[in-house]
Amino acid sequence: MNRLEQLFIAKPREVLNIYYTAGFPKLEDTLPILQVIQDSGADLAEVGIPFSDPVVDGDTIQKANHQALLNGMNVGLLFDQLKNMRETINIPVILMGDINPVLQFGVEKFCEKCQQVGVDGLILPNLPMDEYLQDFKSIFEKYGLFNIFLITPQTSEERIRKIDKNSNGFIYMVSSASTTGSTQGVTKEMLDYFKRINELDLKNPRLIGFGIKDHESFMQASHYANGAIIGSAFIRAIEDADQPAASGMKFLKEVIQ
């Protein structure tokens, strides 16, 4: 059984998913940061594949992507770094990033590598659903990879139902119309949207991301969904730290309490 599936059976509530960028702050930090995420008690991790032109990202993750590329990060190296991760990492691991590096690596080869190192799912925001269903789905399935779709406050109910039908693992609920890294917290508008989606009674679990940054917003999101995703706030906690692992751990402990 896919680890994502197991996770949501074992823990349907207050699931915490942490995003970070591979090869950041230092090239060799990919696995140590993953370890910190697991050790902190977070439930799953999203490892970002850096891209030169990350259009869905705000300043914080843009900078992390840029630095990771300067450090020499690339897809091939990422698989090398994660090669033995399953010796120590038990939580589900998802790779997230722009579709282009995946296309250049080769979709089938990419998925095969994912399976070899023990990746459970993929979030490729600019892989459209139609293209996925036509050309990617069968390959993802062959290698046991779940594809995670996004929905936003503007996504129509009809489309949400279609996404729910074609999803496995969980649905990524983008909290507001924004790029990553917004610091406004959870607004009344967001709560209305969370409630609206909650009432749709979808078959997939939902995690809320974008703008979730601390214990309070994590709890608010968890109230209306199965949990939340923190990205930029975690990156901010490690980006300038002398000891990124220790700073990351401190931040996560505060979020989880």
Binding site: D53, V55, Q104
Partner: protein, 397 residues
């Protein structure tokens, strides 16, 4: 506007030209792009839309633009060269054909704010202009490098009431301005329409922009007939940044196999150097800014920062239509260096008394690569005027 329904070069239902195109966008942009896709054809072919569009093109833009027989330039090349004078459009480039169309569309979609990217500043100016005309708020993203090298256009946009926001990431040129404009649209999905300035971006943008620009070749056909009694020249030539003036120039000739199509790309310092923007020479299929096309990128799929002396051609991709024209062999692509373009621009100024935009100078420089006969006719898209580029030309004087 004529439909190309049965053409091998028309966009497919899913937004593809051969292997290129599509709408590779994040879910945040899906509702906007889908709304556009479902409505654009129906809106732009409404009689009252066409009437308003054509009236503005005539009375505001100054269309039809002349097709000018360039006598002395023809003598130099011992052939018959006609210049399609898009530089005489209001605002000084072809870009306004598209912005007029898109602003009318945006109004009908109920959008009351506009965002745009710009490279040379011509698209930014053309967008700021139509926003002033319609009383709509306008934000233009422009790379910091381009803000410097195209200063006159920055001043024009400001005077027209637009807010110019610097794009500070990456190479700080057109690619980065496009990233910022897309991010802005993600953050403002409900009230804002994104006016893309070329035949790039997710479907239906490439097709929509090509249709708005197709007026260029619609006029060329009529004007060629008036000049020489046939609508078909031997060559049509245009520069390709994203490819909008080129798409407009080629549009009604795509299915005329006797008309040779020439595309001039910016080679920068040369295609063998690391300072170039010649996408068909240096690119591979990839996805950027919402469509699959040819893209200058590393083996690992990171976008390479391009270089061209011309801000409007300084882009690491081309529109999916052009990738298909390249792959199918329908168009011949040439890589024109900075120096070749500058010489061709100087040359036109001295021979014809016309100072072209540096972008257009790339198309003029293509003449040196063609084996032209004295009874042949060549149409070149003079996509814009060179006032914005004087400080760059001065360095070559």
């Amino acid at each position: 506007m004529v439909n190309l329904e049965n053409s091998a070069f028309a966009v497919s239902e899913k937004g593809y030209y051969g292997n290129y195109g599509g709408a590779w966008i994040p879910e945040m942009l899906y509702p906007n792009v889908e709304e556009l896709r479902q409505n654009y054809l129906q809106i732009i072919y409404q009689a009252e839309f066409q009437e308003e569009f054509n009236l503005l093109l005539r009375d505001y833009v100054g269309r039809p633009t002349p097709l000018y027989f360039a006598n002395r330039l023809s003598e130099k090349y011992n052939t018959n060269i006609y210049l399609k004078r898009e530089d005489l459009c209001h605002t000084g480039a072809h870009k306004v054909n598209n912005t007029i169309g898109q602003i009318l569309l945006a109004k009908r979609l109920g959008k009351n704010k506009i965002v745009a990217e710009t490279g040379a500043g011509q698209h930014g100016v053309a967008t700021a202009t139509v926003c002033a005309l319609m009383g709509i708020e306008c934000i233009v993203y422009m790379g910091e490098v381009d803000i410097e090298r195209q200063a006159p256009n920055v001043a024009r946009m400001k005077m027209l009431g637009a807010e110019v926001r610097p794009a500070k990431s990456g190479s700080r040129t057109l690619k980065d301005a496009t990233n910022e404009a897309m991010r802005h649209w993600i953050n403002n999905p409900v009230d804002t329409h994104y006016i893309i300035g070329s035949v790039v971006g997710p479907h239906p943008y490439p097709d929509m922009v090509a249709r708005f620009q197709s007026v260029i070749s619609e006029e060329i056909r009529k004007q060629m007939f008036e000049h020489i009694g046939t609508e078909l020249p031997d060559y049509v030539i245009a520069c390709v940044g994203g490819g909008s003036n080129a798409a407009g120039t080629y549009f009604h000739y795509l299915d005329e196999p006797d008309v040779k199509i020439i595309a001039a790309e910016a080679a920068g310092h040369g295609v063998k150097t690391d300072k170039s923007a010649a996408t068909t020479f240096l690119g591979k299929p990839g996805v950027l800014h919402g469509s699959k096309s040819l893209l200058m990128q590393t083996y690992d799929g990171q976008v390479i920062e391009p270089h061209s002396i011309s801000a409007g051609l300084d882009y690491p991709g081309i529109g999916p239509l052009h990738a298909h024209l390249w792959e199918s062999g329908r168009a011949q692509f040439l890589a024109i260096t900075d120096d070749e373009a500058m010489q061709a621009g100087m040359n036109l100024a001295k021979l014809e008394g016309i100072i072209p935009a540096i972008e257009s100078s790339h198309a003029l420089a293509a003449l040196d690569y063609l084996d032209l006969r004295n009874n042949e006719t060549v149409v070149i898209s003079l996509s814009g005027r060179g006032d914005k580029d004087l400080s760059t030309y001065m360095k070559y004087l």
